[in-house]
């Protein structure tokens, strides 16, 4: 693995983790939400690196275009003063570090298949469509029902009660 193939990976990993760290640690809510957007864009760039361009683009549309906008709208509508001291419960950090250490230890002890770069067939939209309609048609319908239920539920939850 020469420098030219490590460099994009390292840069994207750095951006993603920096954005995630900022999203977890910044006191200002809007700054944290915008760093989350950076982290999502980094994950989308990872998907592009791994040859799944369609999933990367869907990640941008769904996460950056919808989830981040939802979070931002909720920040607008609920004035929370989270910049006060005492905004963070520092007891959670050791737990997260313990989980990190445990998972990394598990990773180092697992024998993973040797990563042959570029061995995967390119992920075409035609292939995804055919697989969705042939093998995964029932999960597709189930996801449709789940999303409809989520839509109806979200609207009902924030509907104003009739006096």
């Amino acid at each position: 693995m020469n420098l030219l193939s490590i460099l994009p990976f390292a840069v994207i990993a750095a951006i993603t983790l920096a954005g995630a760290l900022a999203a977890a640690a910044l006191p200002n809510l809007v700054h944290a939400a915008l760093s989350l957007v950076l982290a999502f864009l980094g994950v989308a760039a990872f998907f592009f690196l791994l040859g799944a361009e369609f999933i990367g683009l869907v990640q941008v549309i769904v996460y950056v275009g919808a989830v981040a906008v939802l979070i931002v709208f909720t920040i607008l509508l609920t004035r929370s003063d989270s910049g006060r001291p005492g905004y963070m419960n520092w007891g959670g950090v050791p737990v997260a570090l313990a989980v990190l250490a445990g998972l990394l230890w598990a990773l180092s002890r697992t024998a993973l298949p040797a990563g042959q770069a570029g061995a995967a067939a390119p992920l075409t939209v035609l292939g995804i469509g055919q697989t969705l309609m042939n093998q995964y048609v029932w999960p597709l319908q189930a996801v449709g029902v789940v999303l409809t239920a989520a839509l109806v539920g979200a609207v009902v939850l924030v509907m104003e009660e009739k006096r």
């Binding site: 809007v30 700054h31 549309i61 950056v64 275009g65 906008v69 931002v72 607008l76």
Partner: protein
């Protein structure tokens, strides 16, 4: 000779790249991409300057007055004067504003617009970046614009900016759905998400005279009108410019920006207009194809820019003619009318394509769209009571 005029830019780029024969492969690729980017940026910056003066002149003519005509012949050097003014204006940032977010908002607004310009085919073999899922890429960068609007409104620390930003985001999110769903019939019929393939699917002429553009089919005409309306909303143009209504919110989310940052917002709005008009030309109006078989001697890129100019003129024309729509009327239009109509377009496209007899396919597709429109109008107007219009003049 005709072919050379058509491919003149491709040949010029190939000649320039041949000067780099000695360089390694990746250098040639990088330089080639940079040349594409420079060409797109150069053309659209000039077009932006021209549009800003033509809009004011056309609006002026609609309002029975001359537009700007002092600077240069017929006022054509007005963009130069505007540019100098914007550059030397003082950059005022409100005291309570969030400095970093306030600075990044114009950047985050203009970057997606320029990115979206890269996937549109401007002529035969003249796409800046030919991506396989180009339409998806276009919508992905379009959805990043909403965040930039929020950043601008929030960081200004101003209630009216915040109101404008909220309205703008609500509008843009609501109309993303009709925008994407009206594109679905085109993708279904063309069988590909790549803009090059979609333009290639509109090749050919019926009876040698009528082009096979998608706008000349029943479902295509309705989808084009819906797409055009949704793109009016996405670029915050009249009649949907409530978020930046000058008589209401000063400039909405752009209120606290002055000088070069305001010029960047302005540029982002126009680039968004160019991108979405370019996509409309690609998807519905046949891209760079000529309207008749005997007109094919005119180069393809001239046809593309001609069609683009027609669409931009329609944008400006609608701005000068229609009044503003209220925000709740805007949202109601999106969710109750445009969404069901877009789904009926999808059904009509399927009927047009898969019914074996061509005439029956056309007729049933027309029927589906007509029934959907009539049904929706009936249902939605059921609660309106239109009385006889009375005029009251001062005596």
């Amino acid at each position: 000779m005709i072919d050379a005029a058509d491919q003149i830019f491709v040949i010029a780029k190939r000649l320039l790249l041949s000067l780099l024969m000695w360089a390694p492969d990746w250098v040639v690729q990088v330089v080639s991409s940079l040349m594409n980017v420079a060409a797109v940026l150069g053309v659209f910056l000039v077009l932006f300057a021209l549009i800003s003066v033509f809009e004011r002149k056309i609006l002026g003519r609609i309002q029975n007055r001359y537009g700007p005509n002092r600077v240069g012949p017929f006022g054509l050097l007005q963009p130069v004067a505007d540019g100098i003014k914007m550059l030397i204006k003082e950059d005022i940032v409100p005291r309570g504003a969030d400095k970093a977010v306030h600075f990044l908002a114009p950047v985050a607004m203009v970057a997606p617009a320029i990115l979206a310009l890269g996937v549109i085919p401007y002529g035969r073999n003249m796409t800046a970046f030919s991506i396989d899922a180009g339409i998806l890429f276009f919508f992905a960068v379009g959805s990043a614009t909403e965040l930039a609007v929020f950043m601008a409104g929030w960081s200004s620390n101003n209630k009216y900016s915040m109101l404008g930003a909220m309205r703008a985001i609500a509008q843009m999110v609501s109309y993303e759905l009709p925008l994407i769903i009206t594109v679905l019939p085109v993708v279904m019929i063309a069988g590909s998400l790549s803009p090059d393939q979609i333009v290639a699917a509109q090749n050919g002429y019926l009876f040698g005279l009528v082009p096979k553009w998608f706008v000349l089919t029943p479902w295509g005409a309705v989808a084009f009108i819906l797409f055009f309306t949704a793109s009016l909303v996405e670029s915050n143009r009249t009649p949907f410019d409530l978020p930046e209504g000058e008589s209401e919110l000063v400039a909405g989310h752009m209120t606290e920006y002055s000088g070069f940052k305001y010029a960047t917002f302005f540029m982002a709005e126009y680039f968004g207009m160019f991108a979405v008009s370019g996509l409309a030309v690609t998807l519905f109006l046949g891209g760079w194809h000529a309207p008749a078989a005997f007109l094919q001697f005119i180069p393809s890129w001239i046809w593309f820019f001609l069609k683009l100019s027609v669409l931009l003129f329609t944008f400006i024309w609608i701005r000068g003619t229609l009044p503003r729509v209220r925000i709740d009327q805007v949202m109601k239009l999106a969710w109750t009318f445009m969404l069901p109509m877009a789904f009926s377009c999808l059904l009509a496209a399927a009927a047009w394509h898969y019914i074996s007899s061509a005439a029956l396919g056309w007729f049933s597709s027309l029927l589906i769209v007509g029934i959907a429109y009539a049904g929706l109008s009936k249902i939605l107007e059921a609660r309106k009571h239109l009385s006889v219009r009375t005029y009251q003049f001062a005596e």
